[in-house]
Amino acid sequence: MNTTPQALKMPEQPIRLKNAKKFFWAILLDIFLWSYSILVTYKIVYQRLILDLRFPEFAWSQPIYSLAIGAAVALVLLLTSKLSIGKAITGLYNLDENETVMNQPFAYFGYLVLVLTFIAGFFVSQVSVYEFLSSSGLGGAKRIFLALLDPNWGIFEDALFAAIETIYMAFIATTVSLPLAFLFGFLAARNLMDSSPILFSVYSTVRFFLNLTRSIEPLVWAIIFSVWVGIGPFAGMLALCLHTVSSLAKLYSEQIENIDDGPIEAITATGAHPFQVIWYGVVPQIVLPYLSFTIYRWDINVRMATIIGLVGGGGIGTLLMQYQGLAKWNEVGMLVIMIAFIVWMMDYASSKIRAAIK
């Protein structure tokens, strides 16, 4: 009875290993932040602000020197002071709980990085009050706004049909994606997949591909598919499908991970087969949230289909692109009204339906 099993001693070593890992990331983060601060100070604050150079020269030596100096500064400060953001984020500082984070030394370094980034942002995005308020610019803006306020109702039918095409495209993209998303939702749910190494590797693979496809914007997928299958609604639909599968599967799997384990335990205890456990223990708990997610996704897809149309995905977006290219602002005005209407309508309908099934 007094024999201590090995499992009890286990946790000690991973903690030390974890700290080494944390320390490594803390150093990397600090080096990055200091190099970044030095580079920005030199390029923006010194060259643009103080020397007032319009087009400062770029040389690779600049970032490399910044990196070297930054690394030295970061290392010294990491070991000697409380200025390390990396240590703060990875939780290596034993903070006094009575003091607020805002007053810690590392927070001041954080403010410095924030201010530098703000200044740099102004220069990089070429903010210019002069351009914004120039008379020729204001004149052009006035012309467009007046045209938008006076839409060409003559193309109402075209706009309506294009809008219908967009809504249907979004609907088909959503429904075609459903079965795949449903399947991947289970495969990407950690609580169902961590019982054996094989299942866990399936889980990891599925998660990886879902993250990969989701992190590429549907707009980019639309460009790829319009080269692949030709410009038109089909390319747009494929792009939407891909993104919908990965987004829905993510939402579905999170829903599965959040379900109550009780019914699963109870159904397992009756001697049911794992498929029966899923059907009776999991599915009844997820049907309504799934429906809600899916309707919301359709709503999102209508908006996305409009944007995807801009790169040749068909529907109202493509029409908008064509009229904009011809500078026919009255027609563009009509299309903008149509888009605003369908987006508002879908948004309203989907939120009402989702509220009703909660």
Binding site: L8, A266, A269, T270, G271, A272, W279, Y280, P284, L288
Partner: protein, 252 residues
């Protein structure tokens, strides 16, 4: 009929929930396990029907070594052991009837059960058990709309549907009010006496233990520290089991 020897359970996070527990259960007993929260009661029950796998030791059920079972034989074994839970664990949004029928899943094919095609006999028996637990006429009500006591009775009917030889009850009355607690315990007693089902039950209240148990085991920190008649638990034993500062609370 059930022999547990040197049973140990260490969770992956290092918690040593059971540190070598031995006991036997005879057919027809109403065995109650008492102990503080975290003493290993729930873990012990879950090891018995393999919801959790024990780390070492053996569990023998009618000459079968339970800890080695896998796949179909494991599911067959589980189907002979009913279980009810503190939070009832019914399938939400489904009717009482559907919930009770899930007790018959082990003997229904996967395809048939997905479409709810249970045998006529099972459906008849489900109605019978619903009647036994006093919910006649409510078979089509949604289970999660019933009161706590009623939900626990549905859970008992579901367990009975399995034709169990043993019924495990994990703190079956811990989330019920005193009156309902007694009603649920009465049903368990009825199941034990009239249907001859052996019952292993985790309980908190000693007054309930004295009233219903035929034998008692007490766990503390994963070890069995007491075994005997419910009426033999005196002041001193009570303090040993529940700690020096404990005061007995009664439930009437």
């Amino acid at each position: 009929m059930l022999q547990v020897k040197e049973l140990q359970k260490v969770y992956p996070n290092g918690t040593h929930a059971l540190r070598g527990v031995d006991f036997e259960v005879a057919k027809g007993e109403f065995l109650v396990i008492i102990g503080l929260s975290g003493s290993g009661k729930s873990t012990l029950l879950r090891c018995l029907n393999r919801l959790h796998d024990s780390s070492s030791g053996s569990i023998q059920f009618e000459e079968t070594e339970v800890t080695k079972l896998k796949g179909r034989p494991l599911r067959n074994y589980r189907s002979t052991i009913g279980m009810i839970f503190q939070h009832f664990n019914l399938v939400p949004r489904k009717s009482v009837m559907t919930n009770v029928l899930t007790g018959a899943l082990a003997r229904t094919g996967i395809f048939k059960s997905i479409f709810g095609m249970y045998s006529e006999e099972d459906k008849k028996r489900a109605l019978e058990y619903i009647k036994i637990v006093g919910l006649e006429g409510r078979e089509n009500h949604r289970a999660d709309n019933l009161s706590g006591g009623q939900q626990q009775r549905v859970a008992i009917a579901r367990a009975l549907m399995q034709n169990p030889k043993v019924l495990l009850a994990d703190e079956p009355v811990a989330s019920l009010d005193p009156a309902t607690s007694h009603s649920v315990m009465q049903y368990l007693k009825k199941v034990n006496e009239e249907l001859g089902v052996t019952i292993i039950c985790n309980l908190h209240f000693l007054s309930l233990v004295r009233q219903y148990a035929s034998r008692v085991i007490a766990l503390k920190d994963g070890l069995k520290i007491y075994e005997g008649e419910p009426l033999d638990i005196d002041e001193e034993w009570f303090r040993t089991i529940y700690g020096e500062e404990a005061v007995e609370v009664t439930i009437n």
